[in-house]
């Protein structure tokens, strides 16, 4: 991720609570389609989108799981979260998708600096 146009999309809001998860993921997909290297970081409530069971979607609303699955089709392979985020929302790692990578909150400043661009959703 040393490329000069690398993008980090940070997802900080829960699925269904607002449209921010969806709008953040859409931004990542378009960046990937443009050939821009892009990773995602899920913080706090945003980590709710990483639940394996996530799938039915709020009644009347579109499920978020297919949206997250799309990321892989666009070669967005790095879905990051922090152990502190999971602890804060009470989610054990056993409930998460298998493709999630972990970061310690302590390492966050250095992690963010690797990216040329950051968008916060």
């Amino acid at each position: 991720m040393a490329e000069s146009n690398s993008l980090l999309v940070i997802i900080r809001h829960a699925p269904y609570g607002s449209n921010l998860l969806r709008e953040g993921v859409d931004t990542a997909l378009v960046a990937a389609a443009f050939g821009q290297p892009v990773d995602l970081l899920f913080l706090g409530q945003g980590a709710m989108a990483l639940l394996k069971e996530q799938g039915s979607g709020a009644p009347g609303q579109k499920a978020s799981l297919p949206t997250i699955d799309m990321l892989e089709m666009y070669d967005i392979e790095h879905l990051w979260t922090t152990e502190e985020s999971l602890a804060a929302i009470g989610v054990p790692t056993s409930m998460l998708r298998n493709d999630v990578q972990f970061l310690k909150a302590k390492a966050m400043p250095g992690f963010l600096q690797q990216y040329a661009q950051i968008l916060n959703f």
């Binding site: 829960a14 269904y16 799938g55 709020a58 804060a88």
Partner: protein, 95 residues
């Protein structure tokens, strides 16, 4: 009085609701509020025992069915939610 919480437990809405709930009051957790299923140590589970419910449809939507079953938490479906409102003239939503 019936209290509806639509936000997560660490929100201002949740803290304010906790101050407002009286001894005979009922609590229904909906929307983001169903994340309480992941926090079995939350004092509300103890304080409002047998008068607090998670809205079942929202639990399923948020991917929390397994957590609710594993933790044996009380749910109410939309039909049951309407029935609860029949019994409480005062209904306040914390959002």
């Amino acid at each position: 009085m019936l209290h509806i919480l639509t936000k997560a437990l660490n929100s201002d809405a949740a803290h304010q609701m906790q101050q407002a709930v009286g001894e005979e009051d009922i609590v229904v957790l909906t929307e983001e509020g169903v994340q309480a299923a992941l926090k079995t140590h939350w004092e509300g589970w103890q304080a409002y025992q047998s008068r607090i419910y998670l809205l079942a449809e929202d639990v399923a939507a948020w991917g929390l069915n397994t957590a609710v079953t594993a933790n044996g938490l009380p749910t109410v479906d939309m039909n049951g939610f309407v029935t609860l409102t029949e019994h409480h003239p005062q209904i306040v939503t914390w959002y």
